[in-house]
């Protein structure tokens, strides 16, 4: 190695180390900014000395009072409701989305393009517009207020077919020659799906389950509209949000934070363990809007 190239090499290494240090600094800063709100919420949930909003972060007295109170309140009900909604939604939504996206990716039929275009255009309407009418439809079915849980499941899964884009993108990346080979061997379409495509689709299935499971935990506006005025039919978002109304906030604010922490736990855990599939699913799929 000549002297000059040696120098150049060392210079490169030095600049790379410098660059990496800068990146570390950046990442640490970003992480701090990203985590501050969560730390604050967690800390608030352990505050015992007062139950309202305060201007400081560190609790003066630590304790589990808020969690204890949480379990004697309606929160357990709301949590169960949300969990049930999430499980069913995840289950059915996955089936529906996969049916839809698989069909649109693999079959070529006359109405395919118009159908896709139609659904694209449907998506241009703000969904909130349909809230009032969905409420009335569910009311006619007896699925509002205290019975809101099945009603919410029904609505969440009914329209989920429109969210086929990501998984269709994923299916598009699976070579078609696989299907064709199987078809030549005499497999029906159903067998192709079952034996060949599904085993290859683990990431997208997990991605779909994960996103479908997460959705109901954060839905406030629609869930409030459906379950209005009946604690028995509320999900966590609606129930917790009510604790922030003027007549309750001073008594329940720290409980709200504790509730938030408990809501975040299952979703965070799922994400921790399934992150890899999420990335694979989203990159296999999202690239094709």
């Amino acid at each position: 190695m000549s002297e000059s190239s040696m120098k150049r090499h060392m210079g490169l290494r030095a600049s790379r180390t410098l660059g990496n240090t800068l990146i570390y600094i950046l990442l640490i800063t970003i992480s701090a900014i990203w985590l501050i709100p969560f730390f604050c919420i967690v800390l608030q949930s352990f505050r015992v000395e007062s139950t309202w909003q305060v201007g400081y972060v560190m609790p003066k007295v630590w304790g589990l009072d808020n969690y204890r109170k949480l379990f004697s309140s309606d929160f357990t009900r709301w949590y169960t409701n949300t969990f049930i909604i999430s499980v069913f939604t995840a289950l059915f939504q996955t089936v529906i989305v996969l049916c839809m996206s698989y069909t649109l990716s693999r079959f070529r039929f006359k109405m395919r393009k118009p159908l896709m275009r139609f659904m694209l255009i449907l998506g241009f309407f703000p969904g909130m517009l349909t809230m009032i009418i969905l409420y009335r439809v569910l009311k006619d079915l007896g699925l509002t207020q205290a019975n809101a849980v099945p009603g919410l499941i029904l609505v969440y899964i009914a329209s989920s077919g429109m969210g086929y884009y990501v998984s269709k993108g994923f299916f598009d990346t699976i070579p078609k020659s696989l299907d064709e080979a199987a078809r030549v061997d005499g497999a029906t379409r159903f067998q192709v799906l079952k034996k060949i495509i599904l085993p290859l689709s683990k990431p997208i299935v997990i991605y779909t389950v994960l996103t479908a499971f997460m959705g109901p935990w954060g839905d406030y506006v629609f869930a409030r509209y459906i379950s209005f005025g009946a604690s028995a039919g509320m999900n966590v978002a609606v129930g917790l949000y009510n604790w922030l109304t003027p007549d309750q906030i001073n008594n329940n604010y720290t409980m709200f934070c504790a509730g938030g922490v408990l809501v975040a736990i299952p979703v965070t855990l799922l994400f921790l363990f399934l992150q890899k599939y999420y990335v694979e699913g989203v990159t296999g799929g999202a690239v094709k809007g």
């Binding site: 007062s50 005025g229 604690s231 109304t245 906030i249």
Partner: protein, 507 residues
Amino acid sequence: MKKFLAIVLAAVMALSMVSFASASSLAGEYEIKVWVADAIVDLTEAQIKRFNETNEDGITFKATIEKMGEGDAASNMVQDVEAGADIYCFAQDQLSRLLTAKALAKLGTKAAEFVTANYDADSAKSVTVDGTMYAYPLTADNGYFMYYDKSVIPDEDVDSLEKLIEDCEKAGKYFSFDLKNVWYSAGFFFGDAGCTSTWVMDADGNAKGVVDNFNSDKGLIALKGMKKLLDSDCWNSSSEVSAFESNSAIVVSGTWGSSTAKQILGDNLGVADLPSYDIDGTAYHIGSFFGFKLMGIKPQEDPVKNAALNKLAQFLTGKECSLERHASNGWGPANLEAQADEAVLNDPILAAVYAQKAYGQVQLAISGAWWNIGNVIADEAKDATDEEGLKQVLVNYENKINESLKLDANALLFVGAWNGWNNADEADTYYFKDGALTLDVPESDYMGGRIVKPADWGTDKGFAQVTTGAELIKDLGADNPDNNIVFAEPGNYTVTWDGTAITIVKN
């Protein structure tokens, strides 16, 4: 023979109905939904249970009680009246919205007499719209006053807005006063500044007119006073007493914050009526709204259930239950007997509420639009740079009120004179929009009225033009020398205006 039978049958039926009514006919079991605030859910449950055990009519309620803040009840009822609560508590400012949605059952004649006899006179007025009562007064404490931190604010400064601002700025503390909400900011206009905003509503919750003089010299004084606080660095638009924890030294709020305020400040907690501001050497005391919380009943298809619910509402807003709520939550009762109770009379927080009431305007039914119109006053005034800017704020305010009354340029107004027409509270006005109008003319000394067309609806608002003397419509016909319409006898009339002449037909 047939005729005879029919008469006999009718007589039997009438008799049976009379006997049915005179017996304790309300007996039975009713399933009802109840909405009350979080703080009194358990108490109300116990009270309903006691009602079931003690009432003499044999009424049993199977009640489902849900938490619903008085501020949210209306928006929830309006979403779907059918699925809403049968009996619910709400803050008075929601009344017109509930009327619009037909979510309140009118009180019957006897029930209205009961309210007049047993509740605070102002509160009885506050449930009355267009001569009909719509709810039972629950509390008479919905006003606001000042909580302050004695360690920052010396007691001798609490009378002066300027001194309070100075104290807060010096200490680097906030003065929390939720002026972005007109419920609070209207206080500046109501106190010594002497403005009023009195709405006249109809049974559908529509505004018929308003007497409102915010856009005046008095209003400008009020706005200048408000501007002092808006422009100071210490102003914080909040009414949460928890703001004491985040650097506030003063919070303007109501009785609902008292227990939290006590816990935060302990012995340093001071309570006082609102201060005065100084404009050109004169001190103007800040006023406030004095409002009520009410208990309403949803319209029912079954009169028996309605009557039973009235009994329950009378019980829940009665002496005993009101005192229980005062003892547990500090709510000031509207019931007269409860108001006379020692415990209520000696309550220092309620004393501050009533001290402030002297400068307050009793809150009656208000157009829902007014809240939206008024909420922007503070924001707009903060942006104003000079007196002209402040005047413009008031002009804009008035323009929006006119627009909300939907006074279109060609519309006319009929002003009935039977109650006297120099006073907006007395005159009966009818909005005359599509060319025809039906009206009931009562028996009175002068069964006449005028059709008026103000020169410019932009400055005259419904009733207000009655007092400002708008131009009368000319050419009402030869037999109307005073340009007035005179009705020959009481009754129901249809008045038609085709653009040039008036036709009156008795129905």
